[in-house]
């Protein structure tokens, strides 16, 4: 095994081009587990810790450019207003120790359906910026996941950052695990309201081979809110609408039975999360309490 230590992004891309089978490692929270347990023996590791720009974020007019290796703990502390859904999700990642090391780039690279950052990225709307010595491209996040633990990266590409839409309305993230901390998602749900465009975004985790959006549920809810004039009136979302929304969210799922939970439970819990998070975001929208994070 080789251990490559690029000093900057250019060197990193050159290293990846020269060693397409090399595995990039930043927080190590996935890669090292596989190495420690003998599940993976890459020819080379590319250490991304020394590349300063991967650990930087920048807030633009409409989007946040989030470096691939900005640790979750900094997302929680520094971006709760701009990226409330992602900050909530970051707070559910592993343990404080993991949150100090892991970042969104690792979640995307691993592309596990259980990765906690996927649902809020899907709900908010995001593009993954990947690069190689051949150039840079942006991939809409919903196109980034191509299968169970597979993604759209070419062998010579690395994830540089994610461009995430700044919150223009309330966002929520909720995940079910069978322990009250440090737990992998049995299922997870992210929801974002975009009052300016009168649209909503969703993201589902651990209920399909890849993280997915519930497009039909989004369209239904947008239409229902519009038709009832609720964006303007701030009226209560009728239970029937919330119920139908939850049903459509579940319809987008394709869960399996595994040691963490049954497919039936995942569907059930997803519906509950969809209803509850809709309640929470809509309450916040009505009360204009945007950006007030809780513990």
């Amino acid at each position: 095994m080789e251990f490559l230590r690029p000093a900057d992004w250019t060197e990193a891309l050159a290293a990846k081009a020269a060693h397409p089978s090399a595995v990039p490692i930043a927080g190590g929270t996935d890669v090292m587990v596989e190495i420690n347990f003998g599940l993976r023996r890459p020819d080379a590791l590319i250490d991304l810790n020394r590349i300063v720009e991967l650990r930087e974020w920048e807030v633009g007019a409409d989007t946040v450019r989030l470096g691939a290796a900005v640790p979750y703990s900094r997302i929680i502390d520094e971006l709760p207003t701009e990226l409330p859904g992602l900050a909530l999700a970051a707070h559910t990642v592993g343990s404080p120790q993991i949150r100090n090391r892991g970042g969104v780039g690792g979640n995307l690279g691993a592309a596990s359906p259980a990765g906690d950052s996927h649902p809020p990225l899907l709900a908010a709307g995001a593009e993954v910026e990947v690069a190689s010595v051949r150039g840079t491209r942006r991939i809409p996040v919903e196109e980034f996941y191509t299968g169970v633990k597979r993604n759209a990266l070419a062998p010579d590409e690395l994830i540089r950052c994610v461009h995430i839409k700044r919150a223009d309305g309330p966002q929520q993230f909720s995940k079910v695990g069978t322990r009250n901390a440090m737990v992998i998602a049995v299922c997870a749900f992210g929801l974002a309201l975009h009052p300016a465009t009168r649209t909503v975004g969703t993201g589902l985790g651990s209920v399909a081979p890849t993280p997915v959006r519930a497009g039909a549920a989004e369209r239904f809810l947008e239409q229902a809110l519009d038709e009832a004039g609720l964006w303007d009136s701030g009226g209560v979302v009728p239970p029937a609408v919330a119920g139908k929304f939850a049903d459509l969210v579940v319809a987008a799922a394709n869960p399996i039975d595994d040691v963490r939970g049954t497919a039936g439970y995942r569907r059930h819990a997803l519906a509950v999360l969809a209803r509850r998070t809709l309640d929470w975001v809509w309450d916040e929208y009505r009360g204009k309490e945007w950006g007030r994070a809780c513990a």
């Binding site: 190495i35 347990f37 993991i98 901390a181």
Partner: protein, 182 residues
């Protein structure tokens, strides 16, 4: 490969490190610092918790090469600068006094984590303590006496600090400050 970094203020070098080794393995097996513990090696127990450039991390998930040139602090260095040589850091003393140690395998990681908490937040609430320690598994104590120990260390440091009237900017007082033991 060769890896060199600072541990508890001292420069260390390790040779012939296999590239897949973790910082934890290098600390324990190559540098003679086995205080950080090898309970799960998958970031799910916190027994190997160390400070890496000040951040609380699982040493099992840091590739040895990633520690190159960086500063690591382990349980062995917790008492450095905390009093006379050979003495204990306040959090260490509190763990002993409160009966927070049974088998002790989780203790080094808990101490490093709790020490960092109190550095950041000298008077944490019970819920804050629980959240901060939620990545450190203990199988013996049921955590009650670990909570006691952290409260005790916080109370002792508050009692030791110069008394000032609590202003609006003062951190909230602990919700309960029971004496260790029952």
């Amino acid at each position: 490969m060769r890896v060199s970094f600072t541990v508890n203020g001292r420069r260390h070098e390790a040779d012939d490190v296999w590239e897949g080794e973790s910082l934890l393995f290098v600390l324990r097996e190559r540098l003679g610092l086995p205080g950080s513990k090898n309970a799960c090696e998958q970031g799910e127990c916190g027994s190997c918790t160390v400070r890496l450039d000040g951040e609380v991390v699982c040493a099992c998930l840091v590739a040895a090469g990633q520690a190159q040139g960086r500063e690591v602090r382990t349980v062995e260095g917790l008492a450095d600068g905390a009093g006379p040589p050979g003495g204990l850091a306040p959090i260490q003393q509190a763990f002993v006094d409160a009966g927070a140690v049974q088998c002790g395998f989780c203790t080094p990681g808990l101490l490093v984590t709790a020490d960092a908490l109190l550095e950041r937040q000298p008077s944490p609430s019970d819920a804050d303590i629980r959240e901060a320690l939620s990545g450190n598994l203990c199988r013996c104590t049921g955590y009650e006496k670990i909570l006691d120990a952290v409260r005790l260390a916080a109370a002792r440091s508050a009692a030791g600090a110069a008394p000032t009237a609590p202003g609006p900017e003062a951190p909230p007082a602990p919700r309960s400050e029971p004496e260790p033991g029952e």
